[in-house]
Symmetry: C2
Subunit: 187 residues, 2 copies
DNA sequence: TCGTCATGAACAAGGGACAGCTGGTGGAAG
DNA sequence: CTTCCACCAGCTGTCCCTTGTTCATGACGA
């Protein structure tokens, strides 16, 4: 579907073609500006469009095979929401009457699971912490990680969204482990 | 920025809040419907929103470390366009007068490079094929790859967008190589 | 306008998935 | 018509995705 076709489809809903052009331009422009400004655009049921920092790396020239250094950059990223993914995967078909975004019927999705999880949530935490070390007999690191997460959980509120990965180690060897730890501490 | 703020920002451009609500609803709804229908929404300068089939695989439960089978599914995917990426990365700042999407000034960007590439495009193909083996003395695979691509180039026009990955090999060992070859042949 | 609830994010470990390098060409948009 | 953008190839390093839980916030009914 082209941009022109998109405008045409929107015109089919708005009724006017001129309004559709303005609508498409305005919506996309606002989203782009917000992302450029570093703000994440989050629409329930549709998805989140945000900007994330990508660490520098070494890529490869397809023709010559030579290693080229790619410096760290910021790229926009879109994460589809649950409803969108469900509709695309076919789990839930899209409603034809109302808009396909931000429509949350009262109890259309897994009502039993939700009501069951809510009251048992308090003691579920204890169950998880107890079960983890038992199964993780082969890996002791997991238990420590869980404990650390519980401790840091109240400290981390929302983080800054942008500024998660700040590993400048491009010329280093791997820096993967360092980046992991960096993410936790949120340097 | 949530949906309400998005509507407000769009209202700032359209002038009316009601029109902004309809605009946001219509645009998102149209995009969602198109993607659900299997059609890719491609807006030049903004990005492409499409649905891709993800082959089944084996993931891992982070708590227990157990391998869990993930059956194949279809998920929406967004790929940002060049202009969008440039603006986010800071290479090109967004224009404040016009919309940030699909704005192509006549010759504002890298005029010398463009005019040089356009007329030489026809014979540039021969130049590339000749230059590649010369530089690729250390890697012969690159030259073969280029030749193969040239042969398949006229055959592949647009492909089906959706239906690229159809490797059902879930219980196999890796299936990565097989999937690669599948992509070329477009089974 | 307030209350309730669904929805999204984070955290962890590890491996599969995938973005993207370069450069030419087709298509698209103005 | 002109000018630009997206795509595509093999190969890598980066990143996302998986489950399950809790917290926080947004969305919606009354």
């Amino acid at each position: 579907m082209n941009k022109g076709q998109l405008v045409e489809a929107v015109a089919g809903q708005l009724g006017s073609r001129t309004a559709a052009e303005d609508a498409v331009d305005a919506v996309l422009d606002v989203m782009v500006r917000a992302v450029v400004a570093g703000e994440a655009v989050q629409v329930t049921g549709f998805g989140t469009l945000e900007s994330v920092q990508r660490a520098g790396r070494y890529a490869r020239n397809p023709q010559t095979g030579e290693r080229v250094r790619v410096k760290k950059t910021t790229v926009p990223r879109f994460r589809a929401g649950q409803g969108f993914k469900d509709m695309v995967s076919g789990t839930k078909q899209l409603p034809k009457s109302g808009p396909a975004v931000a429509k949350a019927p009262k109890g259309s999705l897994t009502p039993s699971k939700t009501v069951a999880a809510t009251p048992t949530g308090t003691k579920a935490a204890a169950k998880r912490s107890a079960a983890a070390p038992a199964v993780t007999a082969k890996k002791t690191t997991a238990s420590k990680a869980v404990a650390a997460r519980k401790a840091t959980a109240p400290a981390t509120k929302k983080t800054a969204a942008v500024s998660r990965k700040t590993a400048p180690a491009v010329g280093k060897k791997t820096a993967a482990a360092a980046k992991r730890s960096t993410r936790r501490t949120t340097a």
